[in-house]
């Protein structure tokens, strides 16, 4: 595609198209996200026992999150790069503040009470960590040298450890993988990558030693949920029954028995995929996975099209993290991964993760819509 046709295409479209471009919105991505949101409301209506209050609340959160996305889409990626260090530093300081004086909710210290509202710094760090690592690596020739890899590793591990200490294993995994993804896209050698994975795998027994009792229990539960059917294994057993009983075509919308009869705990939040799978069956599940894949493909396309190292690395990392969300959540609900508190992105009930996720998509849109169309 030469410059002329591309520019032509860029300038010749409908009024709405122009408007959306002015708004720095990527139409295919927005379409995918809106479809997910619609799906979310549909399932929530059923999972929440047709409670309209829950629905209104979720819609309000969505509206806020979408506005946040558009705001971020308007900011030039260079601005993100310029402020990466500040934002990252702030995030780490807030994480330390949480450990020192945070509110305790559900046995973990994750919230910072600012008086008028409660804020979860670990959400913010999910975006600022890849920003920081990308900004640091982009300042040096790629692929990165040993020294840069070392410094990047420290930048990743610091927030990861702080979050793991809260303890919030799910978020720690997401932050670590977002940082690791930047390194991967920056071009660290395959040999290095594979040997790191091998070393980490051999360190698992040590990790086991450092895990808290309830975390060990979750791993044991994954291996044998029937060992403790009333306690830790309950989630997984009920979730599998719900999914399996859905069959190929599902029991139909609003037709579930498992979640209706309260067999399934947390059916609106982390385990909402089980409700979806029961109601819409295998066909629905494959459809949902394909929708996620479409969004991911579009994001990877945006990453490929990005024009500087920083944008590329960040775009790639944000996309990969989004996938990790999907994989970890569905993996735990269908019983192939241990139960860690990761929601199903843009579907689960709850506001904080939605704001962060759509914030990430806002950055992707910003990267895509702020390109300068130079001849390549």
């Amino acid at each position: 595609m030469n410059t002329e046709t591309r520019q032509e295409q860029f300038h010749s479209s409908s009024l709405i198209g122009k408007l959306l471009r002015k708004l720095h919105i990527d139409i295919p991505l927005l379409a995918g996200l809106l479809m997910l949101s619609a799906l979310s409301l549909t399932i929530l209506y059923s999972a929440g026992n047709q409670n309209l209050a829950i629905l209104t609340k979720q819609m309000l959160r969505m509206a806020i999150a979408f506005v946040f996305m558009i705001v971020l889409a308007h900011i030039n990626p260079q601005q993100f790069q310029r402020h990466s260090t500040t934002l990252y530093g702030l995030g780490v300081l807030l994480l330390i503040a949480v450990l020192l004086m945070g509110d305790v909710g559900k046995g973990a210290q994750r919230w910072l009470n600012l008086g008028f509202f409660r804020f979860q710094p670990s959400e913010m760090i999910k975006i600022t960590t890849p920003m920081m690592v990308a900004s640091y690596l982009a300042d040096h020739p790629l692929p990165p040298k040993w020294k840069q890899i070392g410094i990047a590793a420290i930048l990743i591990f610091l927030p990861t450890l702080l979050i793991a200490k809260q303890p919030d294993l799910g978020t720690a995994i997401l932050v670590a993988s977002s940082g690791a993804a930047v390194l991967f896209f920056a071009g660290i050698s395959w040999r290095f990558l594979l040997s790191t994975i091998a070393i980490l795998a051999s360190l698992t027994p040590i990790l086991w030693y450092f895990m808290r009792d309830y975390q060990r229990k979750r791993v044991m539960t994954l291996l044998n949920p029937e060992a403790d059917p009333l306690g830790a294994g309950y989630h997984i057993i009920q979730s599998k029954i719900a999914i399996g009983s859905g069959g190929i075509s599902g029991k139909g919308w609003l037709g579930t028995t498992q979640s209706k009869l309260d067999f399934l705990p947390e059916s609106s939040t982390d385990f909402i995929f089980a409700v979806f799978a029961e109601e819409f069956g295998l066909s629905g599940c494959i459809g949902l996975l394909l929708l996620y894949l479409l969004i991911i493909t579009r994001c990877l396309y945006i990453a490929v099209q990005a024009q500087d190292s920083y944008s590329r690395l960040l775009a790639g990392s944000l996309t990969f993290t989004f996938f990790v969300y999907v994989f970890v959540n569905i993996g735990m609900v269908i019983g192939i991964l241990p139960v860690v508190g990761v929601p199903l992105p843009l579907i689960s009930y709850g506001g904080t993760s939605m704001v962060t996720l759509l914030g990430g998509f806002g950055i992707l849109m910003s990267i895509h819509t702020h390109r300068k169309f130079l001849p390549t």
């Binding site: 982009a138 300042d139 040096h140 020739p141 790629l142 692929p143 993804a181 991967f184 896209f185 071009g187 403790d228 059917p229 009333l230 306690g231 309950y234 599998k240 029954i241 719900a242 999914i243 399996g244 009983s245 859905g246 069959g247 190929i248 028995t257 498992q258 009869l261 309260d262 067999f263 799978a277 069956g281 295998l282 599940c285 494959i286 996975l289 996620y292 894949l293 991911i296 493909t297 990877l300 990453a303 490929v304 500087d308 190292s309 590329r312 790639g316 990969f320 996938f323 994989f327 569905i330 993996g331 269908i334 019983g335 192939i336």
Partner: protein, 614 residues
């Protein structure tokens, strides 16, 4: 920045990045395929299996609650047991119309509106498929009536179970405590899985302190039910593990004797086996019918208990704070000897009052005309206040405070019950902190006769007496002596007890004086010595509930019963080889000598007669 945009770098970079994007894309596709494969496995291959689990033949896990451990007294007599009972339980998800069903049941079985409200509150906290009790204890008539019409009540069933029962509800209500329905607050702190089948939890006393041991471990049964949720058959069971049985050091006969000996008075009696520290008697009177709480006490009955002037729900033995009165004197006397402020033979003239140098205020003796010249032994025997005013003044509050703390005052005794009070022995530091006032000599004087700020529990008093009888080796009171897991008995381990460094000669002096209280010609409790072939060492006490103004006398008849002094008595016996130590507090009993001492004597007599061979 410049290096990033050098042409060569940019090209390699582009190439690497593109290959990485492709790699990650393939990786993502692979993982999505894995997710899909698993979904196909669950939803296609396993569909029938899971569908049958979910729909037609639902397999349910029914928690099987463990049997709560039994509580015995020292001779193996049951203090808390489990009796078979029938309860009416509803499984909300299987009841077609809950309101209508409740209305019908209410009329049929004559259920109070209160029980219905209680049920409504309860079932909201549970999963809809778990059964929730409506009536915990059905009487025979209710069982018979319901059995006939059972088919017309889907989701409602009679469950045979066990319910806690206390054979001596009034005597043991404060020490054994009771179990009651688990409330919302407890639901949050108890381990959810362990209590899924349990409706009751220990609320007070031993039942609460030893909840973990008594409760046991929940088992479960995997049962198959039809579409209506009716039981078809049991597939698998894991048996529950019954809770541990507990043996207490308490002696229910002695407990009864002490409780009844208190007669018309409220109060507390604590007796301790000196050698083991086992508590033989733990009376807090009045008690109440603990069984009412098990089946769910009605609001009216509960309010009546709560608003009663006698405060039957208040554990006086553990939490009742009283001025020790003259029962503190043996300890103050011992302090005087230990700190060498007095010698045994030091004599002091008692004119019936005491005055601080240069002050006109008169601190009165209980005997208006005075005791004349008294030494330590006389002072304890006759309970001379003036002697102890002087001694306290010479000791100073700091010494008094430190010495009494060694005997366990001003701190918890550490008995195996929760929410014990620690009492108070005043000190300069505390007064400064709490009232921001400095200490006055006058306050030292009244501390010396156990009045003023000083507050003790009956339990502390008994512990201190036992420690004195044990010649300074600290006695740590406890109730549970053994627990039984399966068929194995385990003794509870007690902490190694420390010994207060005291001169044996000084202890002898004080004990001799205490023997004289009971066996001396002028002893305040000399009536007790009749008809016993051993010696009791004791000390009477009378604690003022209100203070008498200067130059004013009062007669007991003039003031209402509630303002009458508390009667106290501490004792141990036999004096030469102490086996039992006891503290008696009879609220508004008037005088320690006439009311409290005979109660202690009765308990001691009964206990020692059983210890004698044959």
């Amino acid at each position: 920045m410049s290096s990033v945009y050098s042409v060569k770098d940019s090209l390699t970079e582009n190439k690497i990045f593109l290959s990485r994007i492709v790699a990650i894309f393939i990786f993502i596709i692979m993982l999505i395929v894995i997710l899909m494969a698993r979904l196909i496995y669950l939803q296609v291959v396993g569909h029938e299996h899971y569908a049958s689990l979910a729909k037609n033949n639902r397999i349910k896990l029914i928690p099987v609650p463990p049997t709560r451990g039994i509580i015995y007294d020292r001779k193996g007599r049951i203090l808390a047991e489990n009796l078979p009972s029938y309860s009416l339980e509803l499984i909300p998800e299987q009841v077609p119309d809950l309101n209508e069903t409740l209305d019908r049941l209410k009329v049929l079985l004559n259920i109070s509106e209160e029980k219905i409200t209680q049920f409504r509150r309860q079932y909201k906290q549970k999963r809809r498929f778990n059964s929730t009790p409506l009536l915990l204890k059905m009487n025979d008539e209710q069982v018979a009536k319901f059995a006939v019409v059972r088919p017309s009540f889907p989701g409602v069933d009679i469950h045979a179970g066990l319910i806690r029962h206390y054979p001596y509800p009034e005597f043991t209500s404060h020490v054994v405590g009771y179990v009651g329905r688990i409330n919302v607050k407890e639901l949050k702190t108890l381990p959810e899985a362990e209590y899924r089948g349990t409706h009751h939890v220990g609320k007070t006393g031993i039942e609460k302190s030893f909840e973990t041991q008594l409760h046991g471990k929940t088992g479960f049964a995997e049962i198959e039910t039809n579409a209506q949720g009716r039981f078809i058959n049991t597939l698998d069971t894991i048996a529950p593990q019954p809770g541990d049985d507990l043996f207490l050091s308490l002696d229910i006969d002695l407990q009864k004797t002490a409780y009844e000996a208190l007669d018309i008075f409220n109060g507390t009696v604590i007796a301790i086996d000196i050698e083991s520290g086992g508590v033989l008697v733990f009376v807090s009177k009045p008690g109440f019918d603990a069984n009412q709480f098990v089946s769910g006490i009605s609001t009216t009955n509960y309010k009546a208990l709560q608003n009663s002037d006698a405060r039957p729900l208040f554990n006086r033995a553990l939490r009742g704070l009283y001025p020790p009165g003259s029962t503190i004197k043996p300890f103050i006397g011992l302090a005087g000897l230990e700190y060498q402020v007095i010698k045994p033979e030091t004599s002091k003239f008692c004119p019936g009052y005491y005055q601080l140098p240069n002050l006109s205020h008169k601190y009165r003796d209980w005997k208006r005309w005075g005791h004349g010249a008294v030494n330590l032994k006389d002072a304890i025997t006759q309970s001379c206040d003036v002697y102890f005013y002087d001694l306290a003044f010479n000791l100073g509050i700091d010494n008094i405070h430190n010495f009494l703390e060694q005997f366990g005052f001003n701190k918890k005794t550490g008995i195996d019950l929760v929410s014990e009070k620690k009492g108070l022995i005043p000190s300069r530091k505390r007064k400064k902190k709490v009232k921001n006032e400095s200490w006055y000599h006058g306050e030292t004087l009244i501390t010396g006769i156990g009045q003023g700020f000083t507050q003790v529990t009956g339990l502390q008093l008994a512990k201190a007496t036992a420690t004195l009888a044990n010649r300074g080796k600290i006695v740590n009171p406890h109730l549970v002596s053994q627990f039984v897991t399966g068929n194995t008995h385990y003794s509870t381990t007690q902490p190694e007890s420390e010994t207060i460094p005291l001169q044996p000669e000084n202890i002898n002096q004080v004990i001799e004086a205490m023997i004289n209280v009971v066996h001396g010609r002028r002893g305040t409790a000399k009536r007790l010595s009749k008809g016993i072939n051993y010696q009791i060492a004791g000390k009477t006490g009378t604690a003022q509930v209100f203070s008498v103004k200067q130059e004013e006398r009062y007669s007991e008849a003039e003031i209402s019963f509630k303002l009458r002094d508390h009667a106290l008595f501490i004792a141990f016996a036999p004096a030469d080889q102490p086996k039992i130590a006891i503290a008696v507090i009879a609220e508004n009993g008037g005088h320690g000598s006439s009311v409290a001492a005979p109660i202690a004597a009765k308990v001691i007599k009964q206990y020692l007669s059983e210890l004698e061979p044959q």
